[in-house]
Amino acid sequence: MGGSDQKCGCGNSNEFVTLQLKVPENGDGCQKVCDRSVRVSKHYIVGSIQTRASDIPQISTQLGWKDYLGAFRVRWGIRRNSYRVNPGLYAIGTPNERSDVLVTANYKLSFDTVRKNLHGLNVWLLVLDTKGINVWCSAGKGTFGTKELVNRIRLSFLDTVVQHKRIILPQLSAVGVAAHLVKESSGFTVVYGPVRASDIQSFVNAGYKATKEMRLVHFDWYDRLRLVPNDIIYNLRYLMSLFVVISVLSGINTHGYSLQQALINVIPIAKIIAAGYFAGLVFTPLLLPFIPTQNFSFKGLIIGVVISAFLFLTHSLGGNLLVKLAAIFFISGFSSFLAMNFTGASTFTSLAGVKKEMRIAVPIQIVSAVIAAILIVLNSTLSGR
């Protein structure tokens, strides 16, 4: 596949369907066959629909075990960046030139979420190249944007596939798409559909009208729960680094260094780090609306204090008083830091708000860590070990 094929919308991928472009040359040298020959068809492609422009792959609205397994593994952050589908036009059911056109991102989780909600419909699905990122995030980055939308419309010869000039976009793509500019450049009118794919059918049945609720984004416990596994895996780097560094340093005593001492401390240290980890990454997100204070960092701090107080009172923290106090400061600070990083996964934090929060929270986190360190050093020195 050469460069000119790329320009004509023929991708360089190994998921193909045989397509034959029947349209005449359109001026930029793309006059014919995108030779995307099929060797292995994707499991979600179940046929093809013939149009004036080309044969469009027809996709299933039924999710199978491969899709559920894929969704599960990317929620744990496993090979998330390659979970994509090829951009381009797809058919659901048996659409014709009067059927609606829906648009989505090429993150496979987005693709699956949309198509499973279109059962029984005959529509076109235009998938944009958002580099495998979901609708809202890619819109924020600009990849699900005016330029890509206009380009993809052109590359799929959409104006020959449908008679009308209406395309339905997910509402959250509005962050990257300027509807009036899309109309200017492509002739297509953007209609912003609901936030959630599950409302698409109701939206269309109501004559492309959305209820207030369809246009609102929330962050309920189930939304928050689904984000936890990925965060647990992603933040292991912090967990591991801290574990190694603190364990190694725990071997230092007034006589120099004792590996044996470090090894003895490994389990208590692991427990303390894990406590902070779960406080910030699991308890804080799940209990989010119930924790006092507005900021994620402070909520994380509170949960960290609560968890460490619990451990303290149940005699689960090892060592003498100085060590226990150090643990409390560490757990609280670590929990605050991890909770602060959850802001990116949330649906309502703003840049200005988070920056403001960080100006206070990060110093607090650093101070907690420093106090914990000082207490430990003090302990080692005083006990003469």
Partner: protein
């Protein structure tokens, strides 16, 4: 348009004029600004979103908040 695209009901149309009724709910996503043909909305926050990890990454690289990576497919979430 702004009323339609806002995910947190910040705007309300009252007698053909749009009012900001939920200023505190604004997350500065920019959908309203992007879709106002008249350009009536000012959102002056610079690049980035409400993600502490992205802000930290940007700060460490000496740039604006970023998701990291060399292309637009980077995502730490």
């Amino acid at each position: 348009m702004c009323v339609k695209v806002c995910p947190h009901e910040v705007f309300e149309m009252i007698q053909k004029k749009v009012h900001i009724v939920g200023r505190d709910f604004c997350m500065e996503c920019g959908a309203c600004k992007m879709n106002c043909p008249q350009g009536a909305i000012l959102l002056d926050v610079g690049e980035g979103c409400g993600c502490a990890a992205g802000i930290i990454k940007g700060a460490l690289n000496g740039t604006a908040p970023t998701c990291g990576g060399s292309d637009e497919s980077a995502c730490c979430n």
